[in-house]
């Protein structure tokens, strides 16, 4: 009898666990509105309001807030410069990278607010009463991080095509030029018959590398933010209010670091895509094109 009561209690007690995926809050047709998407909309709203307020209060002689923002912007520009080594490239990619940073940062930090994860409703799933929070950090959903990563990798390749041309970007992955070198350079250098297939294979590795970029970018961010949520929930379960506090500060720091890492890596990918490495790789063994290689090295050094 007592056992039956206990079972009934367990069934009635709502399940509250942090899932690896974002839970749907409601549906619009076939489209699921997840708690992460709601949080992302909130983040967008916060950013837009912040931008509007900043735009309205912009003055030639800056106030305190504008001054801080200007210092941050200059700092971000110089940080970007350190990665690209070229102000022109920095100015081209900076708006995208800084927006990415702000979007991820606000999403990460909004996920740490007390209402996130604690305010929700009970839903019935497979006979169990399940607690579904209305908000969940936008970046704690793999869909967000994956979408951003894919967009960044594609955008970096498009940027490469615009900067150094479609032929060079194509040859970076499918190195037809290297294979063609077997025919054209064989008389000059017999080693080309070994080097060219290796170069071609390296191109395929580059293609796999692009996919790895997507995986590493998306899972790093998702993993860190999701792990933070789990950590906070676990600490809260052990000793509510007191124990999660230091971890909350840690998560604030991690949120900033992860946003910085994501945007800096995006900058690195854009920079790599905009640089032509072809002469350094394939023309080292050909004396005729040595000068071209040297001029490229000089250009890089000057930049």
């Amino acid at each position: 009898m007592a056992t039956n009561n206990l079972e009934q209690n367990i069934e009635v007690e709502p399940v509250h666990e942090t899932t690896i995926y974002a839970e749907p809050v409601f549906h619009v047709g076939s489209f699921q509105i997840t708690n992460s998407l709601l949080n992302s909309w909130l983040a967008v709203l916060v950013i837009i309001v912040f931008c509007l307020v900043l735009r309205k209060n912009l003055k030639q002689i800056p106030g305190k807030v504008q001054h801080i923002f200007e210092i941050l912007l200059e700092g971000a520009l110089s940080l970007c410069d350190q990665v690209t080594n070229d102000r022109k490239i920095t100015l081209k990619i900076f708006p995208l990278v800084i927006s990415l940073f702000v979007f991820i940062l606000v999403n990460n930090w909004l996920g740490l607010l007390p209402i996130v994860g604690s305010v929700g409703f009970l839903a019935n799933e497979a006979g169990h009463s399940v607690f579904i929070p209305i908000f969940r950090a936008g970046t704690a959903d793999i869909n967000t991080t994956l979408a951003l990563s894919i967009a960044i990798v594609i955008a970096s390749n498009i940027f490469g095509i615009i900067t150094i041309g479609i032929w060079k970007i194509f040859n970076k992955y499918v190195n037809i030029k290297a294979l063609g070198g077997i025919v054209t350079k064989f008389r000059k250098d017999k080693n080309v018959i070994i080097v060219a297939p290796i170069t071609f294979f390296v191109g395929i590795l580059e293609l796999i590398g692009e996919m790895a970029k997507v995986a590493s970018l998306s899972f790093r961010l998702f993993g860190n933010v999701f792990a933070g949520e789990v950590l906070l929930a676990s600490m809260g379960a052990i000793f509510l209010y007191i124990l999660p506090t230091p971890f909350l500060f840690l998560e604030v720091f991690i949120g900033l670091i992860q946003a910085l890492i994501f945007s800096l890596l995006a900058t690195v990918y854009f920079t790599i895509a905009s640089q032509d490495h072809e002469p350094a790789r394939s023309e080292d063994h050909s004396g005729g094109e040595h000068e071209e290689h040297e001029s490229h090295e000089e250009k890089l050094a000057s930049v």
Binding site: I20, I47, L54, R55, L58, Q60, S99, F103, D141, L146
Partner: protein
């Protein structure tokens, strides 16, 4: 792959929605914050660099002007000194001339005085002589008359 999609609930619609969100953030941040702020900072930087350049130009003009003014002042000082020296010489010459004239005049006055004194002296002597004669004549007459009276007695 399907297991992966199922485990993480990967949904391409959600991915597009999140990308759309990011697109909005990008546009908002770029158009409302980053671009105007960069423009403002660039304008301010230009204004400051223009101010610095103007200050440099002004400092150069100031240095040039002060140099010119010093030169003009030095020239004026030399000229003034020259005028002063000329004036001094002229005054000295005039003073000497006046002294000479005064000396000549004094000499002529003295000469005239001497002459008039001499004439006066001669006149006085003559008058005195005449007086003495007349007095002696009178005295003689008186003596004569007195002698006559005595004789009459």
């Amino acid at each position: 792959m399907e297991e992966f999609i199922e485990t993480f609930h990967i949904d391409w619609k959600l991915m597009i929605a999140q990308l759309f969100n990011f697109g909005i953030v990008f546009l908002a941040f770029y158009l409302l914050a980053a671009k105007p702020l960069r423009k403002l900072m660039k304008d301010r930087g230009d204004l400051i660099s223009k101010g610095v350049n103007d200050a440099k130009v002004n400092a150069e003009i100031l240095a040039k002007t002060s140099k010119e003014s010093e030169q003009i002042l030095a020239k004026a000082r030399i000229e003034a000194n020259k005028i002063f020296q000329d004036g001094k010489k002229e005054v000295q010459a005039k003073q000497n001339e006046m002294i000479e004239n005064a000396k000549i005049e004094v000499a002529s006055i003295l000469e005239n005085g001497k002459k008039s004194l001499q004439v006066e002296k001669t006149k006085i002597v003559e008058e005195a002589n005449k007086e003495i004669v007349s007095v002696s004549m009178l005295a003689t007459e008186k003596l004569m008359s007195s002698k006559k009276d005595l004789n009459n007695l």
